[in-house]
């Protein structure tokens, strides 16, 4: 996801200028077919006459005619060679009028040549081809980003729930997408074709026929021309100068034919290839030549592309403030203290910024950089601080992937190193990467400013204590108090509100919020979202159904009778904002192994269970038992669950509805499948339960009955941390 987004951003930087030029000239050119249709009168469809009618009328009035052609825009032109001069006229089939062919006005030609090749010949054609390819790439990745962020294809048509530049960017992209995708794909095909990298689209001439060589009959009598309606007609080439050894060549929508002038019959025919037909469609979609309204639609759609670019630039420029803003960072060459940060989500930067701010306030020159950007030397530095988060199983986080390389190149050993690790003690390999840095520093023979310190779950007390200790060593007073998103509520914007259960008296909403910025605390499914309802300082907590990796915040809220917060939340409309913060809840999450998990819940309790399912990515076999009131009304996540079953991410889905025809509860389903449940537990399965207290008690009783024959119990599973509850 992250890499798709950064790839999207880098490609758009590269394509921005030529892309804008192509968009602007393309929009202007989109008016060309309409202009031509109006100026030649072909806006109205041609009268249904035959090629014989048209050709004989032209042959009568235009001496020396040697070619009649119908453009993609239905304009009929005739070329002639008479009295040693070439010339062209336009023929109106409705009136039979012949008028001089209008000079192609300079503007259209110039625009076309700019759009095709930037006036740079083959190099320019290459540039525009690559730009079209970039646009195609951006369209595809753009759709992918929208769909994965907003969670579904419906996001492409449902009203967006952002505001400001993001809203403008998003709306402009939605408008521009259709036009951009179509014109860039067709543009790529046309570019490849112009470089002869695709098979030729021309229909070759049929084999040259043997002609009778007899006297030519009147054009109006030629059957091949009589039987071809003007709507099918493309081109008719006359035997040059009445050459009796030459046939007529007739091109139609379906192919190329030779016509014997003596008999008026087709003597040879070459059908148009499938690729030729396809290419014509591509050409039509790209140019609008032949359907001026397609041109206009494309032009209108692409009008939004420059707006998308401008708002995209504005987005980049107004990206959320870095935690370092407002701190006077010293250059690497002058810094006394250097702080190097290895962060995945961005929280570690907030701690680093706090240390930098307080050290700077104490009059020291401080430099802060990502571990990847570590220099070979910091000539004036006394202290080197590593602030390191850990990713996955003790691996280096994003901004520290290059640690081994840059650390090996570092030249000075007479510098005091301090390593501070950030992590979560409930995970294996707690602060694994910080421990690795510390060990490497010791091995390389660095002096240690202090022993490795590990901060569990962003503990502000532990950080402050570490700061006091460092301050003592440096001979200054250091009071560190970073403001984290977890302690200060942040405004969250609602992306969508899926409301269910109204009919069965159990109104429940799935609420999805945008992750506000990079510095926002990382969270996992099962963590709690503390929400401050308007006019109250007391937060209400809701289990999260998503993690940072899903790219959004999601909770399920059941509307309680007279409940201040739940009533407020379930009535929110997309775009509304709430004040909220993350409260970690590491006690309630599946173990990091591949053992099966049995997820049991009722009503809105499905939230965190859904989140676990999303996070397991199929590594852990999952069995979900869930109870609602009516399949028709409050079946939360119905579509996504079915998809999970189809993909195998969910091994088994058992639902029970209490108000449907054969009322049932989750414990009913557990009993029905008792042998399977017992087997899973004997294989090391863990049980995660979320829902009301009564349901949890019923489920515990049922499971005890199921487990008794095996000599185990819920209490025993609890002691093994294999029976986790989140009950309200």
């Amino acid at each position: 996801m992250q890499s798709a987004r950064s790839l999207h951003r880098w490609v758009s930087y590269g394509a921005i200028l030529p892309g804008l030029l192509l968009a602007v000239t393309g929009v202007a050119l989109s008016l060309m077919p309409l202009n031509e249709a109006v100026s030649t009168g072909s806006l109205t469809p041609a009268a249904d006459v035959s090629v014989a009618d048209v050709a004989s009328a032209i042959a009568r009035d235009v001496p020396g005619v040697e070619r009649i052609a119908k453009s993609a825009n239905h304009t009929i032109t005739a070329d002639f060679f008479h009295a040693d001069t070439f010339g062209s006229v336009v023929f109106d089939p409705a009136t039979g009028n012949i008028s001089p062919k209008p000079e192609p006005t300079g503007m259209w030609g110039t625009l076309k040549s700019l759009h095709r090749s930037l006036f740079l010949g083959d190099i320019g054609r290459g540039v525009t081809g690559l730009t079209a390819l970039s646009m195609l790439f951006l369209s595809v990745t753009g759709v992918w980003i929208i769909v994965s962020r907003m969670g579904g294809w419906r996001a492409l048509i449902s009203p967006p729930a952002t505001r400001g530049w993001k809203l403008v960017h998003f709306q402009a992209i939605r408008i521009a997408l259709a036009g951009l995708a179509i014109t860039s794909l067709s543009g790529v095909v046309m570019s490849l074709s112009s470089f002869s990298l695709l098979p030729s689209t021309n229909t070759p001439e049929p084999l040259f026929p043997d002609l009778s060589g007899a006297q030519m009959i009147a054009i109006a009598q030629m059957e091949a021309l009589q039987s071809t309606p003007l709507s099918q007609f493309r081109e008719l080439i006359f035997p040059f100068d009445g050459d009796p050894t030459e046939p007529f060549m007739l091109a139609t929508n379906s192919g190329v034919a030779f016509v014997d002038p003596a008999t008026g019959q087709i003597t040879a025919f070459e059908p148009k290839s499938l690729w030729g037909h396809l290419y014509e469609l591509v050409y039509l979609l790209h140019t609008g030549q032949g359907a001026w309204w397609i041109g206009l639609l494309m032009g209108l759609s692409i009008c939004a592309a420059p707006v998308a670019v401008a708002s995209g630039v504005a987005l980049v420029l107004t990206r959320p403030k870095s935690p370092l803003s407002g701190i006077k960072i010293a250059p690497a060459s002058r810094a006394k203290d250097v702080i190097l940060v290895g962060s995945e989500g961005g929280t570690t930067w907030i701690f680093a910024a706090e240390l930098a701010r307080k050290l700077t306030e104490a009059g020291r020159a401080v430099h802060v950089a990502a571990i990847n950007d570590m220099r070979e030397n910091y000539p004036k530095a006394d202290n080197l601080f590593f602030f390191a988060a850990t990713y996955g199983q003790g691996e280096a986080p994003e901004s520290a992937h290059q640690f081994d390389k840059v650390f090996a190149k570092f030249e000075r050993k007479d510098i005091a190193v301090s390593v501070l690790g950030f992590g979560d003690r409930s995970y294996p390999e707690f602060c694994g990467f910080a421990q690795y840095i510390s060990a490497q520093a010791k091995r390389a023979g660095f002096e240690c400013l202090d022993e490795l310190t590990l901060i569990d779950r962003q503990s502000l007390q532990a950080f402050a204590a570490w700061g006091a200790q460092i301050g003592e060593k440096l001979g200054i007073s250091l009071t560190l108090a970073p403001r984290l998103a977890t302690t200060a509520p942040t405004h969250l914007t609602l992306l969508r509100n899926t409301r269910l259960g109204e009919e069965v008296g159990a109104p429940v909403s799935i609420l999805r919020f945008e992750i506000p910025n990079k510095g926002f605390a990382k969270f996992g499914a099962g963590d709690l979202l503390g929400i401050l309802p308007p006019g109250s300082d007391v937060p209400r907590f809701y289990s999260l159904a998503s993690s940072t990796k899903d790219g959004f915040l999601e909770i399920c809220v059941r509307r309680q009778e007279g409940g201040l917060c739940s009533t407020h939340l379930t009535q929110l409309v997309p775009g509304a904002r709430i004040k909220a913060f993350i409260k970690p809840n590491p006690q309630f999450r599946p173990a990091r192994n591949s053992n099966p998990m049995i997820l049991i819940g009722a009503g809105a309790g499905i939230g965190p269970l859904m989140g676990f399912l999303r996070g397991s990515k199929g590594v852990k076999p999952a069995h979900l038992f869930w109870g609602g009131r009516s399949e028709q009304s409050d079946f939360l996540y119905q579509g996504e669950l079915k998809t999970c079953v189809e993909t195998g991410q969910l091994t088994q889905l058992s639902t029970a509805f209490s108000r449907d025809q054969s009322p049932a509860y989750v414990q009913t389903r557990l009993k029905e499948q008792s042998s399977e449940v017992a087997r899973l537990i004997s294989e090391g399965a863990e049980i995660l339960i979320c829902g009301g207290v009564n349901m949890a008690q019923d489920v515990a009783r049922t499971l005890d009955e199921i487990l008794m024959p095996n000599g185990t119990s819920v209490a025993q599973l609890k002691s093994q941390k294999r029976y986790l509850e989140d009950v309200y």
Partner: protein, 154 residues
């Protein structure tokens, strides 16, 4: 050894002389263009049998292969002969251009009525197959059609 060498040298020289068709001529074809409308013209100058089957391509003016299909008599004649039209190419030609080229042909083919043909094509204007047809051994100069003013062979 010495006389033997001498003999074989003579034999070799004889064989070489035999390899060149004894009765062959090197001819020069001069194609004069008149006014070329619009952009430059593509021109094919080639030798055919009396029925139009291409025997040899003398010169093609215009380098973009994708436009060569508009030199229709030449493409057709080459297709008939089932030989690939080889591309003796030069730059496309403008107004008043005189294209000179040499070719070699056996006397018996001249006697058989082989022809020098010229095709022309100009973007947005007529493709002219057989803009000029000159029958060897009969004509030394013919008037052309379209943009070809005349064709001479010496």
């Amino acid at each position: 050894m010495k006389p033997l060498t001498k003999t074989s040298l003579v034999a070799g020289a004889l064989a070489l002389a035999m390899a060149v068709p004894a009765q062959a001529k090197t001819l020069t074809v001069i194609t004069s263009l008149g006014a070329v409308p619009g952009p430059r013209a593509y021109v094919a100058i080639y030798v055919t049998d009396p029925k139009g089957k291409v025997y040899d391509t003398i010169h093609v003016a215009g380098r973009e292969a994708k436009y060569h299909q508009h030199l229709r008599g030449w493409v057709r004649g080459a297709r008939k002969s089932r030989t690939k039209p080889h591309s003796v190419t030069g730059a496309s030609a403008g107004s008043g251009k005189v294209l000179k080229a040499q070719f070699e042909i056996a006397d018996n083919l001249i006697a058989a009525g082989y022809q020098v043909r010229v095709d022309t094509a100009v973007e947005n204007f007529a493709d002219v197959p057989k803009a000029a047809v000159l029958t060897l051994g009969k004509d030394t100069s013919v008037r052309g059609r379209g943009i070809v003013r005349k064709v001479e062979v010496h």
